[in-house]
């Protein structure tokens, strides 16, 4: 881990210059307190906080619906409308309204979780713990596999391993690729995409901002390198807002596409 955190010569007397403490919590989070034999750490608390933020957001925006929404209400309605019209209905079709609540919860939870990474005083994207994208992906996987069996019976798997639109000689090969891709690679890449983007973003911010800060402090604020590093960190910080939005959008979009492909496997 440490080679990629800071590529400077490491001084054992000052371990702070070797690895910013901020990145270690991506992989090890100390237990804060125990409920029975169940240890609770910071990532879990932030997960609950993310869920509460989503609930509060929707409650405040929709508790008293009015004809002309407030500015805050208009923003939330824009997001909700976008997920419904562009993702749920736009990808799945008219049936998509049934899956819209799931997709909206997915989108908002991931968005809030991602944005925690650039929120001052929190500075930890909960979606950068593999467990979170993994569970979200597992739920999506169970939904689209069960949906495929419910809608198409055994034909769901048959269409994947023995695709009728492909020449017969190629069917075993294409079938194998499709089988692995549908049942193994889809969930793997869906989870890892979110995880990797959040880890990379968090590390980039930590290395640039924390590293730059350490350089400025260690060298009595005469470090040109530290200032340059810190200055580079600020546009990256803004870029992370964009990445947080984009990853939440892509995760939701792909979940919708997978659900759609189970409803109409021929396409």
């Amino acid at each position: 881990m440490d080679q990629i955190v800071l590529a400077i010569e490491c001084d054992p007397a000052q371990p702070a210059a070797c690895a910013p403490a901020n990145t270690n919590e991506l992989f090890e989070t100390p237990t804060l307190f125990n409920i029975g034999s169940f240890g609770v750490n910071r990532a879990m608390l932030l997960m609950v906080l993310a869920a509460l933020v989503v609930i509060a957001l929707l409650l405040v925006a929709y508790r008293r619906p009015r004809l002309v929404p407030t500015r805050f209400g208009a923003i939330v309605e824009g997001v909700v409308g976008y997920v419904r019209d562009e993702i749920a209905v736009g990808v799945i079709g008219p049936e998509g309204v049934r899956y819209f609540p799931y997709l909206l919860s997915l989108f908002l939870f991931i968005l809030v979780g991602n944005l925690f990474g650039i929120t001052p005083l929190i500075n930890f994207p909960v979606t950068s713990r593999m467990a979170v994208p993994f569970v979200l992906t597992l739920v999506t996987w169970v939904i689209f596999v069960i949906l495929g069996f419910v809608r198409n019976g055994f034909g769901y798997v048959r269409d994947i391993v023995w695709p009728s639109t492909v020449p017969v000689a190629l069917r075993p090969l294409v079938g194998l690729i499709e089988f692995v891709s549908t049942f193994a690679l889809r969930p793997l890449t869906l989870a890892v995409r979110l995880f990797a983007n959040m880890v990379a973003g968090h590390m980039l911010i930590s290395v640039l901002l924390v590293g730059g800060f350490i350089f400025i402090v260690e060298f009595d604020s005469k470090s040109v390198l530290g200032v340059l590093w810190f200055a580079l960190g600020i546009p990256i910080f803004a870029f992370e807002i964009f990445v947080a939005l984009l990853q939440a959008y892509i995760f939701t979009l792909l979940a919708a596409v997978y659900i759609q492909s189970s409803l109409h496997p021929a396409h």
Partner: protein, 83 residues
Amino acid sequence: MDLLAQAAGVTGDIGALKSAIAAMGYGLAAIGPGIGIGIVVGNAVQAMARQPEAAGMVRTTMFLGIAFTEALALIGFVLFFLA
């Protein structure tokens, strides 16, 4: 693994060698998806410029294409952590 151990016998640090190989492997894994995403986005931009009214549809399809192209780079990223 034996080969790795032998090679590490020279430098004496197997962990650093493994990390270096993993880092290079991830670099190699990023080449193909990099080119692929370039092609996907380039053609999507061209499509949007030619037919601006289809921009919404093209954008959704573009993100899907990027997502599928990215898969190999992501697998490389996982192997980097596993190594």
